[in-house]
Protein backbone atom coordinates (compact mmCIF):
# COMPACT_ATOMS: atom_id res chain seq x y z
CA UNK A 1 0.00 0.00 0.00
CA UNK A 2 1.57 3.29 -0.95
CA UNK A 3 2.10 5.53 2.00
CA UNK A 4 3.04 9.12 1.73
CA UNK A 5 3.45 11.62 4.49
CA UNK A 6 3.27 15.31 3.83
CA UNK A 7 4.43 17.67 6.47
CA UNK A 8 4.05 21.36 6.65
CA UNK A 9 5.73 23.39 9.33
CA UNK A 10 5.57 27.15 9.62
CA UNK A 11 4.28 27.33 6.11
CA UNK A 12 7.35 25.51 4.94
CA UNK A 13 6.29 22.46 3.02
CA UNK A 14 8.39 19.36 3.29
CA UNK A 15 7.60 16.60 0.95
CA UNK A 16 8.15 13.05 1.98
CA UNK A 17 8.58 10.39 -0.60
CA UNK A 18 8.41 7.05 1.12
CA UNK A 19 6.50 4.57 -0.93
CA UNK A 20 5.32 5.84 -4.24
CA UNK A 21 4.69 8.87 -6.37
CA UNK A 22 1.40 9.56 -4.63
CA UNK A 23 3.25 12.15 -2.62
CA UNK A 24 3.34 14.35 -5.63
CA UNK A 25 -0.38 14.16 -6.14
CA UNK A 26 -1.34 14.77 -2.54
CA UNK A 27 1.14 17.49 -1.86
CA UNK A 28 -0.63 20.27 -3.70
CA UNK A 29 -3.92 19.34 -2.12
CA UNK A 30 -2.40 19.48 1.32
CA UNK A 31 -0.71 22.70 0.44
CA UNK A 32 -3.99 24.26 -0.60
CA UNK A 33 -5.95 23.03 2.36
CA UNK A 34 -3.47 24.37 4.86
CA UNK A 35 -2.19 27.40 3.13
CA UNK A 36 -2.95 29.62 6.10
CA UNK A 37 -0.53 30.15 8.94
CA UNK A 38 -1.06 26.71 10.42
CA UNK A 39 1.92 25.49 12.28
CA UNK A 40 1.84 21.88 11.37
CA UNK A 41 -0.46 19.62 9.51
CA UNK A 42 0.14 15.95 9.22
CA UNK A 43 -1.47 14.01 6.47
CA UNK A 44 -1.12 10.33 6.08
CA UNK A 45 -2.74 9.09 2.93
CA UNK A 46 -5.11 6.22 3.49
CA UNK A 47 -4.72 6.25 7.24
CA UNK A 48 -4.92 9.64 8.81
CA UNK A 49 -6.26 12.82 7.41
CA UNK A 50 -5.85 16.31 8.62
CA UNK A 51 -5.88 16.36 12.39
CA UNK A 52 -4.68 19.78 13.31
CA UNK A 53 -6.91 22.76 13.05
CA UNK A 54 -5.13 26.00 13.69
CA UNK A 55 -2.27 24.97 15.98
CA UNK A 56 -0.44 21.70 16.19
CA UNK A 57 -1.35 19.73 19.29
CA UNK A 58 1.44 19.24 21.74
CA UNK A 59 2.63 15.67 21.24
CA UNK A 60 2.95 15.05 24.96
CA UNK A 61 -0.18 16.80 26.11
CA UNK A 62 -3.11 14.78 27.34
CA UNK A 63 -6.17 15.32 25.23
CA UNK A 64 -9.52 15.39 27.00
CA UNK A 65 -11.19 12.79 24.82
CA UNK A 66 -8.42 10.24 25.36
CA UNK A 67 -8.37 11.02 29.06
CA UNK A 68 -12.12 10.47 29.28
CA UNK A 69 -12.07 7.21 27.35
CA UNK A 70 -9.13 5.91 29.39
CA UNK A 71 -10.75 6.83 32.68
CA UNK A 72 -14.02 5.29 31.62
CA UNK A 73 -12.44 2.05 30.41
CA UNK A 74 -10.21 1.70 33.43
CA UNK A 75 -12.92 2.39 35.96
CA UNK A 76 -15.36 0.05 34.23
CA UNK A 77 -12.71 -2.67 34.20
CA UNK A 78 -11.89 -2.02 37.84
CA UNK A 79 -15.51 -2.19 38.94
CA UNK A 80 -16.15 -5.37 36.95
CA UNK A 81 -12.99 -6.92 38.29
CA UNK A 82 -13.46 -5.83 41.88
CA UNK A 83 -17.11 -6.75 42.29
CA UNK A 84 -17.77 -9.58 39.82
CA UNK A 85 -14.92 -11.36 38.15
CA UNK A 86 -12.19 -11.42 40.76
CA UNK A 87 -14.39 -12.63 43.66
CA UNK A 88 -15.73 -15.40 41.41
CA UNK A 89 -12.23 -16.44 40.40
CA UNK A 90 -11.04 -16.26 43.98
CA UNK A 91 -13.99 -18.29 45.20
CA UNK A 92 -13.38 -21.01 42.65
CA UNK A 93 -9.65 -21.02 43.40
CA UNK A 94 -10.22 -21.16 47.13
CA UNK A 95 -12.75 -23.95 46.70
CA UNK A 96 -10.26 -25.90 44.64
CA UNK A 97 -7.50 -25.31 47.17
CA UNK A 98 -9.85 -26.37 49.97
CA UNK A 99 -10.79 -29.55 48.12
CA UNK A 100 -7.12 -30.26 47.46
CA UNK A 101 -6.37 -29.68 51.12
CA UNK A 102 -9.26 -31.97 52.09
CA UNK A 103 -7.96 -34.58 49.71
CA UNK A 104 -4.51 -34.28 51.17
CA UNK A 105 -5.89 -34.58 54.69
CA UNK A 106 -7.97 -37.61 53.65
CA UNK A 107 -4.88 -39.12 52.14
CA UNK A 108 -3.02 -38.47 55.40
CA UNK A 109 -5.84 -40.16 57.30
CA UNK A 110 -5.74 -43.17 55.00
CA UNK A 111 -1.98 -43.28 55.29
CA UNK A 112 -2.02 -43.24 59.10
CA UNK A 113 -4.77 -45.91 59.05
CA UNK A 114 -2.68 -48.05 56.80
CA UNK A 115 0.33 -47.46 59.02
CA UNK A 116 -1.57 -48.57 62.15
CA UNK A 117 -2.89 -51.63 60.29
CA UNK A 118 0.66 -52.50 59.32
CA UNK A 119 1.77 -52.11 62.95
CA UNK A 120 -1.10 -54.33 64.08
CA UNK A 121 -0.19 -56.92 61.53
CA UNK A 122 3.42 -56.82 62.57
CA UNK A 123 2.48 -57.27 66.24
CA UNK A 124 0.27 -60.26 65.36
CA UNK A 125 3.03 -61.68 63.24
CA UNK A 126 5.51 -61.34 66.10
CA UNK A 127 3.08 -63.08 68.49
CA UNK A 128 2.51 -65.90 66.05
CA UNK A 129 6.23 -66.25 65.51
CA UNK A 130 6.87 -66.35 69.26
CA UNK A 131 4.19 -68.98 69.67
CA UNK A 132 5.58 -71.06 66.85
CA UNK A 133 9.06 -70.81 68.30
CA UNK A 134 7.72 -71.95 71.68
CA UNK A 135 5.99 -74.87 70.09
CA UNK A 136 9.07 -75.83 68.17
CA UNK A 137 11.13 -75.65 71.34
CA UNK A 138 8.62 -77.82 73.21
CA UNK A 139 8.53 -80.34 70.40
CA UNK A 140 12.27 -80.44 70.31
CA UNK A 141 12.34 -80.93 74.08
CA UNK A 142 9.87 -83.80 73.86
CA UNK A 143 11.81 -85.34 71.04
CA UNK A 144 15.03 -85.06 72.99
CA UNK A 145 13.46 -86.61 76.06
CA UNK A 146 12.03 -89.45 74.05
CA UNK A 147 15.32 -90.06 72.35
CA UNK A 148 17.23 -90.08 75.64
CA UNK A 149 14.65 -92.43 77.13
CA UNK A 150 14.85 -94.78 74.19
CA UNK A 151 18.62 -94.58 74.22
CA UNK A 152 18.66 -95.44 77.91
CA UNK A 153 16.25 -98.33 77.32
CA UNK A 154 18.33 -99.68 74.48
CA UNK A 155 21.48 -99.32 76.57
CA UNK A 156 19.85 -101.13 79.43
CA UNK A 157 18.79 -103.94 77.12
CA UNK A 158 22.26 -104.19 75.73
CA UNK A 159 23.72 -104.25 79.22
CA UNK A 160 21.26 -106.95 80.29
CA UNK A 161 22.05 -109.03 77.24
CA UNK A 162 25.73 -108.61 77.83
CA UNK A 163 25.40 -109.60 81.51
CA UNK A 164 23.36 -112.63 80.49
CA UNK A 165 25.95 -113.63 77.96
CA UNK A 166 28.71 -113.13 80.44
CA UNK A 167 26.86 -115.23 83.00
CA UNK A 168 26.31 -117.97 80.43
CA UNK A 169 29.97 -117.84 79.49
CA UNK A 170 31.07 -118.00 83.11
CA UNK A 171 28.69 -120.88 83.73
CA UNK A 172 29.94 -122.72 80.69
CA UNK A 173 33.50 -122.14 81.70
CA UNK A 174 32.81 -123.31 85.24
CA UNK A 175 31.11 -126.39 83.86
CA UNK A 176 34.01 -127.02 81.53
CA UNK A 177 36.51 -126.56 84.37
CA UNK A 178 34.65 -128.91 86.62
CA UNK A 179 34.44 -131.44 83.84
CA UNK A 180 38.14 -131.00 83.17
CA UNK A 181 38.86 -131.21 86.88
CA UNK A 182 36.78 -134.39 87.18
CA UNK A 183 38.47 -135.82 84.18
CA UNK A 184 41.93 -134.85 85.41
CA UNK A 185 41.10 -136.19 88.87
CA UNK A 186 39.92 -139.45 87.37
CA UNK A 187 43.06 -139.62 85.28
CA UNK A 188 45.28 -138.74 88.26
CA UNK A 189 43.49 -141.20 90.51
CA UNK A 190 43.87 -144.00 87.97
CA UNK A 191 47.47 -143.09 87.43
CA UNK A 192 48.21 -143.06 91.12
CA UNK A 193 46.36 -146.30 91.56
CA UNK A 194 48.37 -147.87 88.86
CA UNK A 195 51.56 -146.46 90.30
CA UNK A 196 51.00 -147.09 93.94
CA UNK A 197 48.38 -149.74 93.84
CA UNK A 198 46.31 -147.77 96.11
CA UNK A 199 43.53 -145.55 95.43
CA UNK A 200 44.49 -142.02 96.53
CA UNK A 201 42.21 -140.02 98.62
CA UNK A 202 39.68 -138.38 96.41
CA UNK A 203 39.64 -135.20 98.37
CA UNK A 204 43.37 -134.79 98.18
CA UNK A 205 43.33 -135.36 94.44
CA UNK A 206 40.59 -132.89 93.99
CA UNK A 207 42.41 -130.24 96.03
CA UNK A 208 45.64 -130.84 94.14
CA UNK A 209 43.97 -130.69 90.75
CA UNK A 210 42.16 -127.63 91.75
CA UNK A 211 45.25 -125.79 92.88
CA UNK A 212 47.19 -126.81 89.78
CA UNK A 213 44.37 -125.76 87.51
CA UNK A 214 43.98 -122.47 89.25
CA UNK A 215 47.65 -121.76 89.00
CA UNK A 216 47.52 -122.74 85.36
CA UNK A 217 44.57 -120.57 84.77
CA UNK A 218 46.13 -117.65 86.58
CA UNK A 219 49.45 -118.19 84.83
Amino acid sequence: MPTAIVTQLNGHVVQVRLASETTDTTAPAALESTATETEAVATEAGATETTAATTAPNPIAATPNELAWTAGSFLVLFVIMRYFLFPRLKKATDARYASIRANVEGADQVKSDARSAVAEYEAALAAVQAEAAGRIDAARQTLDNERTAQLAQVNARIAAARAEAEAATAQARAAAQSQIATAVATVVTRAAELATGRKPDASTVDATVKSVMESAVTR
Binding site: L9, N10, H12, V14, A56, N58, P59, I60, A61
Partner: protein
Protein backbone atom coordinates in the same frame (compact mmCIF):
# COMPACT_ATOMS: atom_id res chain seq x y z
CA UNK B 1 20.23 7.07 19.41
CA UNK B 2 19.74 7.04 15.68
CA UNK B 3 16.22 8.21 16.24
CA UNK B 4 17.45 11.13 18.28
CA UNK B 5 20.11 12.22 15.83
CA UNK B 6 17.69 11.82 12.98
CA UNK B 7 15.11 13.92 14.77
CA UNK B 8 17.72 16.56 15.52
CA UNK B 9 18.96 16.66 11.95
CA UNK B 10 15.41 16.76 10.71
CA UNK B 11 14.76 19.68 12.99
CA UNK B 12 17.89 21.44 11.81
CA UNK B 13 17.07 20.90 8.14
CA UNK B 14 13.58 22.28 8.36
CA UNK B 15 14.66 25.79 9.14
CA UNK B 16 18.28 26.02 8.28
CA UNK B 17 18.27 29.78 8.29
CA UNK B 18 16.70 30.33 11.65
CA UNK B 19 19.31 30.31 14.37
CA UNK B 20 16.69 29.91 17.11
CA UNK B 21 15.36 26.71 15.66
CA UNK B 22 18.86 25.33 15.26
CA UNK B 23 19.73 26.21 18.83
CA UNK B 24 16.51 24.59 20.01
CA UNK B 25 17.40 21.44 18.15
CA UNK B 26 20.90 21.51 19.60
CA UNK B 27 19.50 22.08 23.07
CA UNK B 28 17.04 19.25 22.59
CA UNK B 29 19.77 16.85 21.56
CA UNK B 30 22.03 17.92 24.40
CA UNK B 31 19.17 17.68 26.90
CA UNK B 32 18.69 14.04 26.15
CA UNK B 33 22.38 13.27 25.77
CA UNK B 34 23.34 14.76 29.11
CA UNK B 35 20.28 13.38 30.85
CA UNK B 36 21.26 9.89 29.76
CA UNK B 37 24.78 9.95 31.24
CA UNK B 38 23.90 9.72 34.91
CA UNK B 39 21.19 7.09 34.64
CA UNK B 40 23.40 5.05 32.32
CA UNK B 41 26.13 4.89 34.97
CA UNK B 42 23.54 4.36 37.67
CA UNK B 43 21.74 1.50 35.97
CA UNK B 44 25.01 -0.15 35.01
CA UNK B 45 26.23 -0.01 38.57
CA UNK B 46 22.86 -1.10 39.95
CA UNK B 47 22.43 -4.13 37.71
CA UNK B 48 26.06 -5.13 38.10
CA UNK B 49 25.80 -5.11 41.87
CA UNK B 50 22.48 -6.94 41.73
CA UNK B 51 23.97 -9.69 39.56
CA UNK B 52 26.86 -9.93 41.99
CA UNK B 53 24.45 -10.26 44.90
CA UNK B 54 22.39 -12.87 43.06
CA UNK B 55 25.52 -14.85 42.23
CA UNK B 56 26.65 -14.76 45.83
CA UNK B 57 23.29 -15.65 47.28
CA UNK B 58 21.12 -17.37 44.71
CA UNK B 59 18.48 -18.06 47.35
CA UNK B 60 17.92 -14.28 47.72
CA UNK B 61 17.66 -13.81 43.94
CA UNK B 62 13.91 -13.11 43.95
CA UNK B 63 14.17 -10.33 46.49
CA UNK B 64 17.22 -8.83 44.81
CA UNK B 65 15.47 -8.89 41.46
CA UNK B 66 12.42 -7.04 42.79
CA UNK B 67 14.58 -4.41 44.41
CA UNK B 68 16.67 -4.17 41.26
CA UNK B 69 13.62 -3.45 39.13
CA UNK B 70 12.47 -0.80 41.60
CA UNK B 71 15.91 0.78 41.52
CA UNK B 72 15.99 0.69 37.73
CA UNK B 73 12.57 2.31 37.64
CA UNK B 74 13.71 5.16 39.86
CA UNK B 75 17.01 5.67 38.07
CA UNK B 76 15.57 5.39 34.61
CA UNK B 77 13.02 8.09 35.37
CA UNK B 78 15.80 10.69 35.18
CA UNK B 79 16.75 9.69 31.66
CA UNK B 80 13.11 9.62 30.65
CA UNK B 81 12.58 13.12 31.98
CA UNK B 82 15.46 14.14 29.74
CA UNK B 83 13.67 12.48 26.84
CA UNK B 84 10.48 14.35 27.63
CA UNK B 85 12.40 17.62 27.79
CA UNK B 86 13.81 16.76 24.39
CA UNK B 87 10.35 16.16 22.98
CA UNK B 88 9.13 19.38 24.58
CA UNK B 89 12.01 21.45 23.19
CA UNK B 90 11.75 19.85 19.81
CA UNK B 91 8.04 19.65 19.14
CA UNK B 92 6.13 21.79 21.58
Amino acid sequence: MEAISMLVSAAAEKDPNTTGSGLTALGAGLAYGFAAIGPALGIGNLVGKSVEAMARQPEAAGMVRTTMFLGIAFTEALALIGFVVFILLKFA
